[in-house]
Amino acid sequence: MRKLIQFKNVVKDFDGQLVLKGINLDIMENEFVTLLGPSGCGKTTLLRILGGFIEQSEGQVFFDDIEISKVPPYKREINTVFQRYALFPHMDVFDNIAFGLRIKKTSENIVKQKVTKMLKLVNLEGYENRAVTLLSGGQQQRVAIARALVNEPMVLLLDEPLGALDLKLRKEMQLELKKIQKEVGITFIYVTHDQEEALTMSDKIVVINEGEIQQIGTPTDIYNEPENRFVADFIGESNIIDGIMIDDYRVFFDGIEFECVDYGFEDNEEVDIVIRPEDLDIVPLEMGKLSGKVVSTLFKGVHFEIVVETPNRKFIVHTTDNSPIGTQVGLHFFKEDIHVMWKMGTY
């Protein structure tokens, strides 16, 4: 695979307020990359720089090994699904989707064919002549997706494209988008703050916080081996624990020394430890590595979310067997369930 897009030390400030603090990121051809981070962390800003709507204050952006900072947006082989759709209110659904094709002077015949195909793809057949202002939020989003996709760009930027959909439609569209991306073979750069969506769809996830990349990796990397407390906390629910790395493969927390699989820390280095709720198991008191009392339990559809209070903290446990509130229980986990991370800001 070839590098299609490279961000090199991209910095952006708005009137002195630093929004992106030196982004270095490579995006491969045909990759599904997700930018994941909390609201206001700079995801949209990064996309807008790539789309050509604003210019970075420092650093370079390469597209196909060419620096594109001075290339106007309409000359970039990139299309965008905007966060707030930005559909043209004076045009109907058909004309919105056909806009890009008509600009390129495509014959009306082909326009009709392609738009019809797109409408089918996004499940809006029969809506050709509707006013876009009269569509529901979800329908507008799908028009926005169709309007961008119909141009068959090399790169598609999607800024929280499924934000307004209900859960069912959202799941459907996730699969649909993933399928389209595989079929058409284009690079998707997808912005979301929904970690589940990021985990299910992406080839690569870029976790951003306050304008800084926290971790780049595959969904399994990010989930299983979060590099710091922020990532662990942001991706899925976590039990995050302060501890000390005594030696390679030996970590100390909550007053006990545990065997683990991590190494390469300094002796007695302070670390953050994460144990995923689904890696914890509730066992009879005497069989647990830690012990505590059940203080709450919540049925979550597939599993129970049980909170166990130990002398040092509360652990969240996801398990399929319920335990009544008040019971004294043991907590069990395996050595590979302990993920040791550097303290934030010290790496």
């Binding site: 789309g51 050509g52 709507f53 106007p72 947006p73 309409y74 990139i78 299309n79 965008t80 905007f82 707030r84 759709y85 930005a86 559909l87 043209f88 209110p89 004076h90 045009m91 109907d92 806009f99 890009g100 600009i103 390129k104 002549n129 509707r130 006013a131 202002t133 009269l134 309007r147 961008a148 141009n151």
Partner: protein, 289 residues
């Protein structure tokens, strides 16, 4: 609530005394013969028939023509100004809008009068022309001078009305257009211009109506013999004293204005229909913000 509703009463009273009654009086005058007192009214339509004389019709035609040209020039000159202002920084916008509206703070009579000292044969313009060795021109008392005065006085309304629409337009729409491959000109023609039509139409109403009925501007810049419909009416009332004929012309004028309003409304509606129900009658593109 109810107490608030009572606040409208003084205005209703005001409207009754100063708007409705005078209007009824105009209608009364228009349909009666001159010289009779209130006791012995003789109704007639002579006043209207009298108007359908080539002399008067030409005055009407000329008024419409000059108002039309004024409106057209206001659009052509005003649109780029509005576009420019709407695309500057917010602070600059406030300043520029202030500059555009400042002349309106000064009485229209004074503003128009000052044009005389610019345009007249020994005026400012000709002094400059002579100074740089060009032949002086005689501009006063021409269609040019009258139209100039009207454009000067009424174009700010056009600018403001277009500016309001442009400033409210969602910038993301323009970004989306660029994103889909349209260059600046294409984006302007396909997105910005169609979405600003409600502003233009509002501007047409605001410029055309005063332009068709003003009598101050043609009187000063057109000279004593220059007749537009506004002057005609003024003459009937003040110089000739033919209140009945003056009232009839006023009514005819009102009909013409109403017709032209209906026409622009229709235009607005057509645009809205092609917008497929987007209600931007108030100029707002209330969308995607």
């Amino acid at each position: 609530m109810k107490a608030f509703r009572n606040l409208v009463k003084p205005y209703l009273f005001w409207m009754g005394i100063f708007i409705v009654i005078p209007m009824l009086l105009i209608v009364l005058y228009a349909f009666t013969r001159q010289g009779n007192d209130v006791m012995t009214l003789t109704f007639t339509i002579d006043n209207f028939v009298k108007f359908f004389d080539p002399i008067f019709l030409r005055v009407l035609g000329k008024s419409l023509q000059i108002a039309f040209v004024t409106t057209l020039i206001s659009i052509i000159l005003g649109y780029p100004v509005a576009y420019y202002v709407a695309n500057t920084k917010e602070k600059t916008q406030t300043l520029l809008i202030l500059l555009i509206t400042i002349p309106m703070w000064i009485n229209m009579l004074v503003r128009t009068y000052s044009w005389i000292s610019i345009l007249s044969d020994n005026g400012f313009l000709n002094v400059i022309l002579k100074a740089i060795g060009l032949t002086p021109v005689s501009l006063m008392y021409t269609d040019f001078a009258v139209t100039l005065g009207m454009v000067y006085n009424f174009m700010p309304f056009m600018i403001l009305s277009i500016y309001t629409v442009l400033a409210k337009m969602d910038k993301a729409l323009i970004a989306a257009s660029y994103d889909l491959g349209a260059n600046r000109l294409q984006t302007f023609l396909r997105i910005v211009l169609p979405l600003s039509i409600p502003g233009i139409i509002a501007g047409i109403t605001l410029v055309f109506l005063p332009a068709v009925s003003t009598f101050v501007i043609p009187k000063f810049l057109g000279g004593g013999n220059y007749m537009l419909i506004g002057n005609l009416i003024e003459n009937q009332f003040i110089t000739v004293g033919e209140w009945n004929f003056g009232s009839a012309i006023s009514l005819i004028m009102a009909m013409v204005i109403m017709a032209s309003m209906i026409l622009t409304r229709r235009l607005d509606k057509d645009v809205e229909d092609s917008d497929k129900g987007v209600n931007n009658g108030n100029g707002g593109v209330m969308y995607g913000r």
